[in-house]
Symmetry: C2
Subunit: 188 residues, 2 copies
């Protein structure tokens, strides 16, 4: 029983993402979010105690979405296919890197937030494990430079999507340039 909800948690997460990318962590407020959802600010407190708890919960949701895609990487076969697939999903969810940076600003203001942060950290480790298999496959197949530390290779790949496209290159050219540079660098 009880009346219908005016918004779903998924809707709430979608507006949370949009707002976080628009205004950043500090400027993100329940007032703003409530306005987007067309509800009173007080309503959101029925679901989350404060913005830190909300943001950490959102990041877990977001990371889950990404992990679901990422886990399919092993089914792709050899390194070349896995690499292509990885770049595809990274570009598809290119906001992840920026959101992770925003997450670093979150304060641990209550128990649930602490639990969320701990859970999120665990997910990140899983992600890196999943990807370290990918890197090791690349090294085994002789496709990746064995002298580079695994974590640097992964950091490099993820960081690359943050390269600004100030000069308005067409998206396809932007993507292809990045893949080219990640693969073979800027030199001839």
């Amino acid at each position: 029983m009880g009346r219908d909800r005016k918004f779903s948690i998924t809707e709430l997460y979608e507006h949370t993402q949009a707002l976080l990318l628009e205004v950043g962590y500090e400027a993100f407020t329940f007032s703003l979010l409530a306005e987007r959802l067309n509800v009173a600010r007080g309503t959101i407190y029925k679901y989350f105690e404060n913005k830190d708890e909300l943001i950490t919960a959102f990041m877990i949701y977001e990371m889950n979405q990404f992990m679901q895609k990422l886990e399919q990487i092993e089914e792709k076969g050899d390194f070349e296919r896995q690499f292509t697939y990885l770049m595809e999903i990274i570009f598809e969810r290119s906001e992840i890197q920026e959101l992770i940076n925003i997450t670093k600003q979150v304060n641990t203001t209550n128990e649930k937030t602490a639990a969320n942060q701990s859970y999120f950290k665990n997910m990140s480790i899983n992600m890196y494990t999943c990807l370290q298999n990918f890197v090791q496959l690349g090294k085994q197949e002789g496709k990746l430079n064995p002298s580079l530390p695994d974590t640097m290779i992964l950091g490099f790949i993820f960081q690359s999507v943050a390269i600004p496209n100030h000069f308005q290159l067409p998206r396809e050219q932007w993507v292809q340039s990045i893949i080219q540079m990640v693969s073979n660098g800027i030199r001839t």
Copy 2:
């Protein structure tokens, strides 16, 4: 005449930088800065009307420091020397990239801020021009991949210093890995 100042503008900029990197744009307040400088908050208003004006002024100061180093690049001779020099000064001032990102959040709240932003934009263009000569030299000498757009090469180089060193690799190994990856990518 008049009493001595309790702080220099340079000191103010140094604390501004430290605070911006610590807490980010939104959380940066005159209260915090005044505390660091051991003065009353009101004092800062004698020098800057608000935080946007202060931050844009600081960024111009910071960019000037960087440009002074950067302009020496042409004296370094051939592409190889210029490339080594560029990577050196980028790592030396690796906070620049992050500060530029923070600057994007600045609001245009008064005329001086608008003027500062406009001036800063102009400096950025000068910087890119200076660096485009470098990229073209590299292409002429046959050292840089001619199929990559100049702006993407530059974006790639600058972005690379933001690669996190979560796993605590020694700085030297971190730097060398990045230079290696920027130059030749992650592949063998």
